[in-house]
């Protein structure tokens, strides 16, 4: 598992340039352009279960969902940040991507530190120290746990029409 560390205000254009917004929408199409203008190595070297650590306001800017679809597609297991921009935050729930708002863990992390995440108990371990993060309310967690909003809605529609 590799940790990718970035700063504050990582915006949606850095995560996925706007010029591709209307030509790329699947995870495969998005992957080569992920973080293209921020860190050209990312798309080449990212692998399953990697984690992103970032500062304040991660995902600010546009409502485009390619950053979340792309990060989910390459298998990023979590983004740990000091804070998230709200549309990005919702989008992550909708795609089933784990976001962890935990400023203390981000500030504690130094290059090379071991990191592990205990989702069930809401704890991030950085170099052996645990940091508790707030978990989502139950009704919202249900969306993420269903694998995202569309699987959740499909189930809801099915149940409604069976009645």
């Amino acid at each position: 598992m590799r940790i990718w560390k970035y700063g504050d205000n990582i915006n949606t254009d850095m995560l996925f340039p706007g010029k591709y917004t209307y030509t790329c929408s699947t995870a495969e199409e998005i992957k080569p352009h992920l973080l293209e203008d921020l860190d050209p190595l990312f798309a080449k070297q990212v692998s399953k279960d990697d984690v992103i650590f970032a500062g304040k306001n991660f995902g600010c800017g546009s409502s485009r969902e390619q950053p979340v679809v792309g990060l989910t597609g390459v298998g990023i297991s979590a983004v740990v940040a000091e804070s998230f921009a709200r549309i990005f935050f919702r989008s992550a729930i909708n795609q089933g991507l784990l976001l962890i708002e935990c400023p203390d863990a981000v500030r504690a992390y130094r290059k090379g530190d071991s990191v592990s995440i205990d989702v069930k108990n809401g704890v991030v371990l950085v170099a052996g120290t645990s940091y508790v993060f707030p978990r989502l309310p139950k009704e919202i967690l249900a969306i993420r746990d269903a694998g995202g909003l569309l699987p959740y809605i499909r189930e809801k529609l099915k149940q409604k029409h069976q009645k």
Binding site: S63, R64, A85, N94, L150, I153, L157
Partner: protein, 423 residues
Amino acid sequence: MGQMTFAEKILAKYAHEKNVVSGQIVTVRPDHLLMHDNAAAIIKKVLPELLQYGVNDVNLPVIILDHVIPASDEKTAMNHKIIREFVAKYKIPNFFDIGNGVCHQIMIEKGLALPGQLILGSDSHTCSYGAVGAFSSGIDRTEAAALLLIGETWLKVPQSIKITLNGKMSSGVYAKDVILHIIGDISASGADYCSVEFHGDIGQFSVDERFTMANMGIEMGAKNAVFPVDEVTMKYLSFIGVKKTQYTPVSADMDASYQKELNYNLSEILPVVAVPHGVDQVKPINEVIGLEIQQCLIGTCTNGRLSDFKIAAEILNGKKVHPRVRLLIVPSSQQIFLDAIHKGYMEIFIRAGGVVLPPGCGPCLGAHQGVLAPGERCISTSNRNFKGRMGCKDAEIYLASPATVAVSALAGVISDPRKGGVF
């Protein structure tokens, strides 16, 4: 219960609750769901479900093609085609094809966003409709797809920030300077998750100016940004043909409680620019004057309205832009385009050497119509200067008011609007 903010009141109304508190999750049915060119991707996500269950409410979606118009290649053309076929098949009444204008302008101009309404849209600048007292906020494509199918979604009741604007703006200072100044002050994350309410001497701001400010609420992280409904709003609505019986304004209680209260004396605000590569990287104009520019953009959903063009036309009248400069004009809507022709502004722009683009997003998002080359610098009235935003990561974007952009276009360097264009 008294003491409720605008956001609490409106979300209580839509959740059919007597009162709600910040942090609470509510389920709401919005009045409208805005989509633009991304409607194609949204429809594709749920094609089988749409076939099986249909559209939950055909009056919910409003689709406006504005982002890449006319289509720039086969792929975007196909997207537009998918949208037109969807609109025809499901008989979606609120569809605006290419050339009508930027989606946010159309929502307000056509009376599709009204005081006291709740509107969601698959575009981050959906927050613009706070200009006319609506609660409006951006969502992603997946959520828009879900809304087509079920018509409702969840929202967390946000905390609110009260921004009080008092005094009068000095000459050469515009609404764009005010909102950039505020964003520079509180930062790009300063209003994260929050509802922003503007109060104070707001009677001096036209709906156009309120639009500019509400539009940029997202640039400080806000969920929505809203102005109280007053005489100015009601006069505007009556002008566009909306009757008073069609809307019910919602206003915050005087004693509502806020996470933060900020006060600004408008007379102390100077002309400013946001420098690369963040909207909160705001500097007074005198720190950047003299920087060479290659492109100037006046328009987009932030500043492409008649009052913006009036300001620019008065500066450019009878003059020519600097030979090194490309001046792009992007009207926010066809109606504004027509009005600007009748007023003679378009002739002024064209004679000054300007290039007029179709009403839409223009080069703002970097897809076409004025993409920058490496090493180039653009001064723009749009709302974002992120790295790569105008299609090139090695170019620079400065954000400013229409007056600052117009005087800079003449001088070929960033200039101070208070000094008539010679720096």
